[in-house]
Symmetry: C2
Subunit: 264 residues, 2 copies
């Protein structure tokens, strides 16, 4: 499982404060903690309240790369903030995200080519998020096509079928699962698939969030999910991911498979 | 989720002893406990050590039907024991199980017709359990065809793709998931799908069994699983089943969805 730690996001108070005060230690501890919990990459988002998001993104990326060379997912909707983040990365970065709007794709696949980045493509366009898998797959096809036109290998593309909160958009769960399954057939090499997992439990009572997240993650891995942006500090969630991948034969069985995965 | 409680099985010492001593209370308590934990039906198996399995099956079924009219899954490989069990049932019984051997199917679908029973069909034949989904689906087709020839509605048929222990047969997990998915396309009305769930964690260390069971159950529900023979006393397992069905939109969301399901 390619796990992208979600925690370095200015949506969280401690991160917003650290950005404001230029407190490196908070960010670097969050980076190290997520890696020790099993993150393969880290999401980096300056959050909604930053006065100078470009400067904040540059600072965040530099701060993180002082303590790790793990890949970073630059998470912003602004092209100039994206480019600042990409330019500051040491390892192959991940663009989080493009959607199926042609102008967006032209800009961001252009940046992907320039910075040799992987790209997360959301199945969203100007009309929003399609209600069913067919609609999502149509958008996924647009994204795959545009990636190929820009000379991006489909193996560097992650299709995100956009899971919505089960408490208000319950119909979407099974549509997302089918989109994950069928996205794999859109190109050769197959595009990878990813989810912004925590969204599925947004708004649910706190005591049920973990259960909803790990149950949907197992279901999605069963449908072929390759990666997730998620709360890697949730041990039960990571256990579920490891076990689901074991059952999909993506890791060899041994009695101590949880430890074995974590030691890798 | 149609949950069949697995606990009334002579493989367990307390059940074997109760059968020997004709101790109704042990059996009746196990029946009531499983129902209170969420069982929709109860598996009934006299176990391997019974001297007179026909007599034991009749006694077990009668003992259970004194305290509940929940459906019973008569679990035996012997046709005469099966018929004794079926004849003693008050509610529509379930035959557990037939396989894809023609003589077996003739006998057991005959009994199903006679006793108006549902049937669990294992994707096994004289050559054993196929290694992949295609092999399993071939056997599922034979079972569906034979059911139809015997006048059994495919909505009364449960295809069991036979999950094997992950510690020795890791390759089978994803094949079983695909079999579940594609079994639904074999007839109209679609046959139901079922798993003997505990088998997946057989032989794994005790502390990992629950995690393996509930993770695979969530994955299987994501693939369309309708029913499972399982340890209904495992609360985390039942929570996973409820949550996975919620995410498949098989139960309407409410904040207290776990309680709501259990109160049904």
């Amino acid at each position: 499982m390619f796990i992208i730690g979600e925690r370095i996001n200015g949506m969280f108070k401690d991160v917003a404060e650290a950005i404001k005060k230029k407190d490196k230690s908070v960010i670097q501890e969050l980076a190290k903690k997520q890696i020790s919990c099993g993150a393969s990459a880290l999401d980096v988002n300056v959050g909604p309240s930053s006065d100078d998001p470009k400067e904040a993104m540059g600072w965040l990326v530099k701060t993180i790369t002082e303590v790790t060379d793990i890949p970073l997912a630059i998470d912003t909707t602004k092209a100039d903030v994206m480019e600042t983040g990409l330019a500051s990365c040491k390892s192959k970065p991940i663009i989080n995200s493009v959607n199926a709007n042609q102008d967006k794709m032209n800009t961001l696949f252009g940046l992907a080519k320039k910075y040799n980045a992987s790209v997360i493509g959301l199945t969203i366009d100007k009309s929003g998020i399609p209600k069913d898998a067919d609609g999502r797959l149509e958008l996924a096809i647009k994204i795959v096509t545009s990636a190929m036109e820009h000379g991006i290998s489909t193996s560097d593309l992650y299709i995100d079928a956009v899971i919505l909160p089960v408490n208000v958009a319950q119909v979407h769960g099974k549509e997302v699962l089918r989109t994950i399954r069928e996205s794999k057939m859109l190109a050769d090499p197959a595009p990878k698939t990813i989810l912004g997992l925590s969204n599925v439990s947004q708004g649910a009572p706190q005591q049920n969030k973990g259960l909803i997240n790990r149950t949907f993650l197992a279901m999605a891995i069963g449908a072929g999910l390759d990666a997730a942006i998620m709360d890697v500090s949730d041990k039960e969630l990571v256990d579920a991911a490891i076990t689901a991948e074991l059952l999909m034969e993506k890791q060899l069985y041994c009695d101590s498979f949880l430890d074995a995965y974590r030691k890798k």
